[in-house]
């Protein structure tokens, strides 16, 4: 909404103040744009730069760096691994979370809210570094070390409390009259779930699914600890090894890899945003 300036006699001082204020605002916005854009520049410039280095420069355009990427034996396997881990976790999380969120939303279970809060807090320990050792030891006992399934399970366990929280919030906002109406027409609970509820919560599930996917896509610690075979490592870990190797990092490789590694996430976010919006971010109904 625009504020309309009331036409009135204004003193010169007031006008000056207004102009100064406006200029300050514009300047502030420019500063912000620069602030947020600056680190990102490297990502869009360096992959195409003939002299890739730490500095982001506009020194020409080339696609040669991508040869580096394509010829690296780790590139595609790591992206594939990331895809596998991310989609696997995402699917597992939305399926289990949707069922749980629906039940928790519609049936009053005493202590439900406290349980969810408790689980949320607990999940912050588990994702901390100290818990990595118990997780390692436990998966070792289960024979799931160096198995990607193990990583999926651990990550899903960590993401579920928040996913249930978000989805439950979403389901809460769906009028119960839909389900009641179907029930009076004789639909069984399973029919209600399939015909009515799931189609209606699709936007919520998409949002949570994308959120989970992005979390796993960027997750470094869990696959790093639980997978020993480099061919199973996802892109998050592989990229880190590219630049952690003492000496001079291979800029051509790192920049192109970073770009390729980042694109799916950005595309996915844009897609879901366009389609469904993020209207329920933070529990505020859009």
């Amino acid at each position: 909404m625009t504020t309309v300036q009331a036409p009135s006699t204004r003193s010169a001082g007031a006008v000056l103040g207004l102009v100064a204020g406006r200029t300050a605002a514009y300047a502030g916005v420019c500063v912000l744009v620069v602030f947020f854009a600056l680190p990102l520049l490297w990502l869009v410039l360096t992959p195409f730069s003939p002299t890739p280095s730490y500095r982001a420069t506009l020194s020409g355009f080339t696609l040669d760096n991508f040869d580096n990427l394509l010829s690296n034996p780790q590139t595609w396997p790591s992206i594939r691994n990331s895809l596998y881990l991310a989609t696997g976790s995402s699917v597992l999380v939305i399926t289990l979370a949707a069922l749980a969120a629906y039940a928790l939303s519609r049936v009053r279970i005493p202590g439900r809210d406290q349980l969810l809060y408790a689980l949320l807090l607990l999940s912050s320990i588990v994702t901390g570094t100290a818990a990595m050792v118990p997780i390692f030891l436990m998966l070792f006992q289960l024979g799931l070390i160096d198995r990607q399934v193990g990583v999926v399970l651990v990550l899903s366990g960590g993401l579920l409390p928040a996913a249930v929280f978000m989805l439950k919030d979403f389901v809460d906002s769906i009028p119960r009259s839909y389900e009641e109406s179907a029930r009076v027409f004789g639909a069984s609970p399973s029919q209600i779930l399939r015909h009515i509820v799931l189609p209606v919560i699709r936007p919520g599930m998409a949002t949570v699914g994308v959120w989970a996917l992005v979390q796993v896509w960027g997750n470094f610690l869990v696959p790093y600890v639980l997978l020993s075979n480099p061919s199973k490592q996802p892109a998050a870990v592989v990229m880190y090894t590219f630049y952690d190797a003492g000496g001079q990092p291979n800029f051509a490789l790192i920049s192109t890899f970073a770009l390729v590694y980042s694109i799916p996430v950005v595309v996915l976010y844009l897609f879901v945003n366009r389609r469904y919006g993020f209207a329920f971010q933070g529990g505020i109904k859009g």
Partner: protein, 325 residues
């Protein structure tokens, strides 16, 4: 959406409205039996069970184990490795009297207060406020940039900032004309605070955009007709309406930032432990130093700090609700 890189940080969404608002004008007649769709207790349990099993095995159990470790002197090296003994609260007393822990706690509070409570909150709000009257170009540009900072994977973001801040060849030094300025070494806390603001503002921005959308236009217009200027409208109309969302947002970003490990990638906790916030401190003690028992105990202390904040928030939220009723 990923805020930090390393850990699979969980993004808890804030609680939805706490049940039907009591009207206070007439006796509240509950309209629902607690199960209007006929799900039935048995089926409800069956629906919740798979999620709960997964959570119990892969979250609760390791978490409990970690907490238990805090009571041992379990180590990867030294006497605690072969036969860890039960030391009860020994780890905790050690931690509370350890100056390194106290310093780390202080740094963490500084980090959280500066980058989250102040930085992300204020900037996110400012952006949301600005967007209402901004031109389409400005709004879209800023929106995209701020969001990109948030959703890019942590490994990538860490490297982008390394590239930016590099001493010899970094972009920042090139732009400012300062050569050989080791930002991460000279001003580690400032660097990680600014980094965290950059990284996480998007969430606050999104939340406040939605929150500001709930402010009824009529309220603002009443204020304007009474002669209130922009700042006064903000103070008298907007802030009271969105107070609840401010609390929610502050809680979430506080909790996330408390547990954020990614500053490690920029400063390594140094130099000289000058930017060693608690997550980094735990990492150094537990993984690098091998003192798992001690590290786990500190994890619990960190959790308790989170719990205190969460409880505070719920209290504040309840008073808001009862005020509003």
């Amino acid at each position: 959406m990923a805020t930090t890189s390393q850990a699979a940080d969980v993004r808890p969404a804030p609680a939805g409205t706490p049940g039907p608002a009591p009207s206070g004008q007439r006796a509240p007649t509950p309209r629902h039996d607690g199960d209007v769709v006929g799900l039935g207790r048995a089926r409800a349990v069956a629906f919740v069970a798979p999620a709960m099993v997964l959570v119990a095995v892969f979250l609760v159990f390791p978490a409990a184990w970690t907490l238990y470790l805090g009571l041992l002197d379990y180590s990867l090296t030294g006497s605690g490795a072969k036969a860890p003994t039960f030391v009860g609260l020994g780890n905790y007393t050690a931690a509370l009297s350890d100056p390194a822990f106290a310093k780390s706690l202080y740094l963490t509070l500084l980090f959280v207060g500066g980058s989250a409570v102040l930085g992300q909150n204020v900037l996110g709000f400012f952006l949301a406020w600005y967007f209402r009257t901004a031109s389409r170009v400005a709004r879209t540009t800023l929106n995209v940039l701020v969001l990109l900072a948030w959703i890019l994977p942590g490994s990538v973001v860490a490297f982008l900032w390394q590239a930016l801040l590099d001493r010899r060849n970094g972009t920042l030094n090139a732009l400012l004309g300062t050569t050989d300025m080791a930002w991460a070494i000279d001003h580690p806390m400032a660097v990680i605070i600014i980094f965290n603001i950059w990284r996480g503002t998007a969430f606050s921005m999104l939340l406040y955009t939605a929150a500001l959308g709930t402010v009824p236009r009529s309220h603002l217009e009443v204020a304007r007709m009474a002669g209130a200027g922009s700042w006064q409208q903000l103070r008298d109309v907007v802030l009271p309406t969105v107070k609840r969302h401010i609390l929610t947002n502050t809680l979430l970003i506080t909790l996330w930032t408390f547990n954020d490990f990614s500053p490690y990638l920029l400063t390594g906790g140094g130099p000289n432990n000058e930017s060693e916030i608690l997550p980094v401190y735990i990492y150094k003690e537990a993984i690098i130093g091998g003192h798992l028992g001690y590290g786990s105990a500190i994890s619990l202390l960190l959790l308790i700090a989170n719990l205190v904040i969460a409880v505070l928030y719920i209290r504040l939220l309840r008073t808001r609700d009862s005020e509003a009723a």
